[in-house]
Structures are given as structure tokens and as C-alpha cells.
Symmetry: C2
Subunit: 547 residues, 2 copies
């Protein structure tokens, strides 16, 4: 036993939902658990994705012994192609997750990495760490949690989990292993906090099967079900129910098609060949024999369901009598898009079933009582809640306290905090980069807060650029100023405003001054003119050139 401590650094996913990434460091050895992305919030304007700040691992790339991926959701695999650009360590994950990573890396044109398939029960030695995988149930098959033997003690990482006693794939969270970890003596438990606002237990995935079956059995014509493309278990259930009701099934939407294909190839989605049909073929059947499973449950503008609602999806036109089931809950921030989509589906005359009126979705994450059950099984000395916004972490910490973990042994930490763990002590010792790394177009992390603020200002009131060309000898105007504006006023109203702007420019120029004095004076004067005329404050940029 040395005096050295284990360092644990979340690079994402603590104090926020998404971009999960954890670093474990001991001596010369680092391992990384998950590399996920986060979808931008509504005021991160123009941003495609948000990923973790990876500088810490990039600087120590040669000491990274492995990258472990707990399951195939975007918030766990979505930043992998970015991570591999600086860290070329081997990847370890389960079979289905590997299949999904393969597709993702091919899409990102990232060169084939060293990916290794592991299975629950396997143990992996990576430097100072010995990692045992155990099965957990969630909303995608083939999820694992981790029991990491470290020189300071055993660390258990729950992965994303729920305790589903009747999962669709029949594969339950491994209670026996968890109890064994408790007996063996767990130093630290790190556990999924996503649902820690919810009291009680999360319902089984099979619970909604009955509800959905009721709807499909009663549907007079075509059924269209929208859900998450990654929710293979849900797709399986809908296909099973459809078969029972004498229907064939087609999957619609790029990510749905891709995920269904890979899951079928690997044996995680079982739909007979004569049931799963191409979209063109299924449309020739009588409507009461048709189920379509599609993307768009979050109101994503280019998704199949949204385009059906708009009447812009050529392959599928909604008609009265269609039954649409939206089997998902809006992710915070998406409510407006989802509601708009629902309204458009109603306008088409569809019978629409969604979470507000029938419970056609269950979460893949443990609620409070399951979180407590995990803590009781594992009986950790120390506890760190992971995967959640700040309030989720706080609620989870309260549950741990209720389960008998000493309050001073519970640490609520956020992305970028550095935790040091010894056999008898736990402490946040530092805080490293925690900024959002924005992905926008080809740029990764090249966008600072200033650009986002400019975009915000442009979104509110647009801009006015005024080009003033002066005679370098007389300092008089060489020509009419050139004015460019967008996002400020309607084109039909611009002429009058721009006349006032030109007059203002003339009088500023007459007063004279250096180029920078003129620029400052113009910025103020033009801002005033525009505000007086419109009540708006666009970004005003005067450009003065002397020719």
C-alpha cells in the first residue's frame, strides 16, 4: 500500500445531463469510462454538439491504458470520434455497443480503432486497474456497470441502470454480483442520478407493453409509433405486439433504420424476415396490417414524424384514421417542438396517443427507491452521485444519507472537479477545465463565449454595417456610404431608416477626426438613430476607409 491516492475526474456528466466521461488515474495509469456528447441548450446558438474538454487526457495520452464504454447511447459514445483524435487507446465494450460504435466511427470517418468485445462477468486488467463487468438493465440492451479494483480499494460504477424485473430481453441487473461487491467491501459507489427527482420505482419496460397493445389492437387502420432510435427494447416490443395483432412492421428514419439493422445482425432485435418489410412494400398492404416505427419523438425538425405532421414526407402521408403513438417523454428544452408536432398530427386528423394522455413511455433510469436499493446492496463507504444536473446529484446524495452513508463521506461534485480518494479519505482537491467544448461545423472547441454572445445579439436585433469611404486629402465622403443590414427591419421599411443613417453619417464626417475617432462617433450616432427609429439595438459596425 502506498500513500498515493486515486484521482477521479469527471470531464462531463456531473452537474449536467449528457457528455458523460470519467477519468480514473493512479500513478502512471489512466483509464477513461465513456465519451459522450450533449445536445446544445436552446441558447447555445448554432452549436451542433457539446463534448467534454479533453485537454487533461490529451496531455496524458500515452498513459491512457484503455477506454471503457458502458453502453451505446449518444451521451456515452458520441464524443468517441473526437477522443480518438488525441488518445489512441484500446476500447473495451459489449457486443451491441461495439456494433453501434462501428457505425458511428464509420460515419465520422475516424480510422478503425482497436475495439475489443467484453461480456458481463469478464475481468480486464488495465495498468493499476482490474475491471470486472456486470450486467445492468436500461433502455438499450447490453449495458454494463463496472467493479474497478484499484490500489486504494474497490470502486463501483453503476453505469446507466434501472432494476427492471421483467426486461424485454430477459436480462436483468445482476443482483448477485452487486451483493457480492457489497460483501467484498466497496470503497466508493458512483451511481446514476438521472431520475433521482422521482420517488418510488421506475416501471418495467414491459408495463407499457400492455398499454401499447391496447392501443394497437383497437386501431382501425395504420399505426405509427415514434420512439428513440436507440431504444431497441421498445422497438422489439412494438414489433412483437404488431405481429400479435396481425400487422407487418417497417422502420422509418435514418437512425432508426441503422440501429435496427445492426441490432438485428447481432441478434439483439428479433423480427422475422417476413414481418419486417421495406417501407415501399408495406404501403401496399391494407392499413390495418401496417405498423411503422419511426424517429421524431423529440420533434426534431428533420425527423420522419415531424415531416409527416408538416405534410412534407413524401413516402408517408397521414390520413384520418391513422393512429400515432409518441412513445417518449420530451427532453427538457424540446417541449415546444414536441407540442408543435403533436398539434400538426392532430390537424391531419390522426388519433394521437402521447405521454400527457396515456403512459406510453417508461424511463430507463432508476428512481429513488432503486437508487437506494443499489446503495444497500453495495454498501459503499464513500458515495459520489454521477450523471445528472446539480439538483439530481443533491437528491441522490440525500438518498445515500438515508441509506446510512456518513454525510461527510458523500461528495457532490461537478464536471471538472478533481477528486482524490484514499482508503480512508475522499476530497475535492482541484478544479480543472469544465467549459463547454462546442462542435460547430468542422470546428471543435474553437468557439468561445464571445461568438455565442454575438450570435445572441444578432438573433435579437440583427446588425448594421456602414462602410464610409473618405478622401484621404479632404476627409470628405468619396461616395455614398454603403449600408448593409439584416435581421433588423423589414426590407420594405429600410429605405427611410437608411436615409436617416446616411444623414447621421454625413454630419459625423463633417465634424472630422481620425479614423478611430470617426468609428467611435459613428457607432454611437448610428446606434442612436436606429434606436430612436425602431426601439432596437442591433450590432452597429462602422468601417472607415481613406482612399
Amino acid at each position: 500500500m502506498t500513500n498515493e491516492k486515486l484521482r477521479i475526474i469527471p470531464l462531463g456528466g456531473l452537474g449536467e445531463i449528457g457528455r458523460n466521461m470519467l477519468v480514473f488515474e493512479y500513478g502512471d495509469d489512466l483509464i477513461i469510462v465513456d465519451a459522450g456528447l450533449m445536445f446544445p441548450e436552446n441558447d447555445m446558438l448554432g452549436i451542433d454538439l457539446v463534448i467534454p474538454d479533453m485537454a487533461y487526457v490529451a496531455d496524458r495520452a500515452d498513459r491512457v491504458r484503455g477506454i471503457i464504454i458502458t453502453h451505446g447511447h449518444e451521451d456515452h459514445i458520441g464524443a468517441l470520434s473526437y477522443l480518438l483524435q488525441s488518445v489512441q487507446a484500446p476500447i473495451y465494450t459489449t457486443r451491441l455497443t461495439r456494433g453501434m460504435i462501428d457505425v458511428k466511427l464509420r460515419d465520422a470517418r475516424t480510422r478503425a480503432a482497436d475495439i475489443n468485445t467484453i461480456a458481463p462477468g469478464d475481468t480486464l486488467e488495465l495498468g493499476a486497474f482490474s475491471i470486472e463487468f456486470f450486467r445492468v438493465s436500461h433502455s438499450i440492451p447490453d449495458c454494463v456497470g463496472l467493479a474497478i479494483e484499484t490500489p486504494v480499494g474497490l470502486v463501483v460504477h453503476s453505469g446507466d441502470f434501472k432494476f427492471d424485473h421483467s426486461p424485454v430481453d430477459g436480462k436483468m441487473t445482476d443482483f448477485g454480483k452487486l451483493a457480492e461487491l457489497g460483501r467484498r467491501g466497496t470503497l466508493l459507489l458512483m451511481s446514476d442520478s438521472t431520475n433521482s427527482e422521482s420517488s418510488g420505482y421506475t416501471a418495467s419496460e414491459q408495463h407499457i407493453g400492455g398499454l401499447i397493445e391496447g392501443v394497437i389492437a383497437d386501431a382501425p387502420a395504420r399505426v405509427i409509433v415514434a420512439t428513440f432510435a436507440s431504444n431497441i427494447s421498445r422497438v422489439q416490443q412494438i414489433a412483437d405486439i404488431s405481429m400479435k395483432c396481425g400487422r407487418k412492421v417497417a422502420v422509418v428514419g435514418r437512425s432508426m433504420v441503422n440501429n435496427a439493422r445492426i441490432a438485428r445482425e447481432l441478434g439483439y432485435l428479433n423480427i422475422p424476415d417476413d414481418v419486417l418489410m421495406p417501407l415501399e412494400a408495406i404501403q401496399k398492404l391494407p392499413p390495418e396490417q401496417v405498423t411503422l416505427i419511426c424517429t421524431g419523438s423529440q420533434g426534431e425538425p428533420t425527423s420522419a414524424l415531424v415531416r409527416m405532421g408538416n405534410g412534407e414526407y413524401r413516402s408517408v402521408s397521414l390520413v384520418e384514421g391513422d393512429t400515432v403513438i409518441v412513445s417518449a417523454t420530451p427532453i427538457p428544452g424540446n417541449e415546444e417542438y414536441v407540442n408543435r408536432t403533436l398539434d400538426n398530427l392532430f390537424r391531419k386528423g390522426a388519433n394521437v396517443i402521447y405521454d400527457e394522455v396515456l403512459d406510453v413511455h417508461v424511463s430507463g433510469h432508476a428512481s429513488q427507491e432503486e437508487q437506494k436499493m443499489l446503495i444497500h446492496l453495495v454498501q459503499p463507504k464513500f458515495f459520489v452521485p454521477i450523471h445528472g444536473e446539480y439538483r439530481h446529484l443533491v437528491w441522490h446524495a440525500k438518498s445515500a444519507e438515508q441509506c446510512g452513508v456518513e454525510p461527510e463521506n458523500i461528495v457532490v461534485m461537478e464536471t471538472g472537479d478533481v477528486l482524490e480518494l484514499g482508503p480512508d479519505d475522499i476530497e475535492i482537491v482541484d478544479h480543472i477545465a469544465d467549459g463547454h467544448v462546442f462542435v460547430d461545423g468542422r470546428g471543435v472547441g474553437d468557439l468561445g463565449q464571445e461568438v455565442i454572445q454575438d450570435r445572441g445579439a444578432l438573433a435579437r436585433n440583427g446588425f448594421l454595417v456602414a462602410l464610409v469611404s473618405l478622401d484621404k486629402y479632404t476627409n470628405g465622403l468619396l461616395a455614398e456610404p454603403q449600408l448593409v443590414t439584416r435581421g433588423l427591419i423589414d426590407e420594405s421599411d429600410t429605405a427611410e431608416l437608411l436615409d436617416q443613417v446616411k444623414q447621421s453619417i454625413s454630419s459625423v464626417v463633417e465634424r472630422g477626426g481620425t479614423r478611430s475617432e470617426l468609428r467611435d462617433a459613428l457607432e454611437k450616432a448610428l446606434g442612436r438613430v436606429v434606436y430612436r427609429a425602431t426601439g432596437r439595438r442591433p450590432i452597429v459596425i462602422p468601417v472607415v476607409q481613406k482612399l
Copy 2:
């Protein structure tokens, strides 16, 4: 009896939540019911407010016999100052609503209108219409519904309502009057659809009193409650509970202070002078004697609660031990802001109580069973659901059908539809303007979709303006091109990109052409250069001048 029909035109509030405004027209007489605003959706960039398109009533201003306001919420009074600019008809409303309108018109510097106070039970003759007011309960005192006798028959308008059997002000919806209207024979019922997705009954406002009392009685130190400033009943309850628990009360936030003042002056809010204290004075008391009631329950960026969470509110610093109750549900679209605010309050160490963990809010709108009860009481021949997004209207129509209204007598219509009603028939005959009228700065309705689209493009990727000055004789560059960009890339990265842009300009200029040919060629070439370098597509605007 003539053959003439009654025309009913919703100028807002049908197929959308907010900007409620209804026009009733018969012969030469028009009346207007409500004139509300709508808060912009997240993708209505830079817009302050959305109001109804009032052209129809502006064109007929001299025939408007009166403007009736059912209650004092923004979605019913917020567009009144705009309406009065074109229609100078007398306003009729209840006492508290009148007080709130007075404040609003003063703020908007709209000249004192002819406002008349009415009370439930009063009858008002306006041209062809005879309007009787009846009391309804909602989340603000002094709300009325309308029984409008028209030449074609009786039209009942529910106002915003719920059936609260124990309202805080003791004033219940007038069941007797509703039953009488049913007996008298109601031709058309128009009823509030806001909550028609919710099954069952909406809880009484007093239901949450017990829950909030439990929290306040147990609070070890200061209590801060955020709710809607207009929810006078909630403020009353919180004040009553606080008194019971030996606390004094202060109200915080501009709209909360204004509403509390006017409601107290008019006798709708009863807090003794020695209990309601100024903020500075209350802060000197021991924390366990303090309750603050404040704005910010929707995460509004400049509100008191949000600034407390950020640590930017000088007058109130949150400390560990403070209890914060957020007594409201996020309006769709506000979830991200609300969650962010909750997280910040948790970060300050406050004990935060909110809808996800305790039911500390009830709606002011009727749920399905109450909606059905109203239909049964009034027994209308025809039914039109109002106040709601499209799906809400559809659910409400289904309820009406369940209550025995003939399906062909139920009309789901949207803003801008023109309904004609006779004693035996109902029909949508036309559709007039339904566009969103945007208020932005001083501009009202001067912003078209194009400006909003430009703002969207600017928000995503910013802009690049290139000013190219050419010698009018040689067509060569007179000077370095002037480049202006915002919202595209970080300033630290611009130099390299702008060099490439300048090279591209040089080669386009060398190829020559007319000004408009050059402009087109530059737009394409620069767009390509920027896309190749960044993967982004800003608005590119070349300006070519020949000097």
C-alpha cells in the same frame, strides 16, 4: 328574426395559448372580448411580444360598441394598449381587472380610455348584444364569464375558469346562473380548453395551502416563495400561512410589488400593515420570521429569483438553510430556464421545493370533468372550444361529444377563421389574417417572416460582409477589401480565414465583370471559402463600389 347570421372571429387564442381576442359581429355592431398578448416561442428570435392581427377591427373601428375584458391576466389584457391605438371603444370589466388595466395603460403611456366597472350579475346593452356577467373562479380574483344574448340566440363564453369549491377568496363559479342559462336555452357554448389534456378535476387552490403550510412550518430559517405575480390568491395564501407561522412578509420583484399594491388598494389582497413589510426592514428580523414572495417562477432572466440564484441580487443573498418554494409549473418552452434556476438555488445550499418533488402548484383551469360539467350545466346546441393549442381544442371537442352535443354541431376552429352562426346552423365561412403580429422594440407588426429567418441564420452561423472598392476605370482593387464578421469564428482565428477570403476576392476581381456579376461571383466564392475552412454557412454579403 332576420336571416342575418352572427359572425364570430377569433383574432387569437384558438390553436395557440395566449393573445386571446374574440370578435362578435351582428349587422352594424361589433363587440370585442379580451385583447391579450402571447409570449414569443423560442424560435421567434428577438421578438418581445406577439399580439393579434387587429386589422379586422381597425377597419370597423366606428362600429365597435365595446371591449369586454374577462380578467386581468396578460393573455387577456396585454394587447389592450395596442388595440386602443385603432379602436377607441369603451372598456367594460370588473374592479380588480380595471385596476390592473389602469397600471398597464399608464406603463404603456396610452391615453386614459373610457373604462367602466361592471360586476357579476350586471347586464350591459351594446348594440345588438345584451351581455350578462357571471362569476367564475380562476387563479386571479374577479373573473367573469359572459352570457351574450344575440339576435340569433344565447352565446355563453366561459372565460378562463375552474370549478373551485373552496377558492381562497370564497367566491365560487356561479353554478346557479349556469344552470339557468341551460334552462333558458343556450345556442352556443365557447369554453376554455387550456387543461383539456388533463383527466379528472383540477385541485382546489386551497389543496396546496396544506402542503405549503407543511413546508413553511418546518422551515428552519428564511422562506422564499416564487409564483406568478398575477396569482393574487396564491399570494394571499402564502401570507396567511406565514402569519400563522409567526412570520412577516415582503413582496419582491417589480410586477409582484405592483400587483400586490393594486390588489391591496382594491381590497382583493388582505395582509395587515404590520405583516407586510418593505424588503429592507424585513431583512433585519431573525430569518425564521421572514417570508419573501417573489417573481421568477418561470426562470425569467431578469427576475428576482433568478438573480438570487446567480448571486446577482444585491438585496437578497441566499444562504444555506434558506427554503425556496417554486409554486408554479414551467410553461412549455421555459423548462430549461427553470431547471437552470433550480440548480443554481441548490448550488447556494437552499432547500428547494418545486413541482417535481411536491405538488406546490395547482392550475387555474378546468380539467376534463369540469369542462364536461360546464357543458352539462349549459346544455348548448352548438359547441366551440376556445383558449388552447390545437390538440387541446380536439380533446375538448371529444368531451363535448361525450356529453351529448351532436358531432356536427361541434366546430374546432383556429385563429382567423370566421364562424357564422344562425339559430339552426354553424359554419366556418372564411379565413382572415391569422399571422403573428410581432412586437419588437417600438415596432408593431413591421417584422415579417423574412427578418425572423435572417435572425435565425445569423444565430446559427453569423455573417461576413465584404466591402470591395474598385477603381471605376481599371476595375482593379482600390484598396484592401474591408471584411466584417460576427458570430462566425473566434477573433483569435479570424486572421487566417480572412486572408483566404481576401485571396478569393482578388481572384474574383481579376476575372472582372459588372457590379452585379461581381457580387454574385463573390457571394458564391466567399461562401465556399468559409465553408471549406469552418464547415459553417454564414450569411455572406459582398458590397462592390466603384470609385
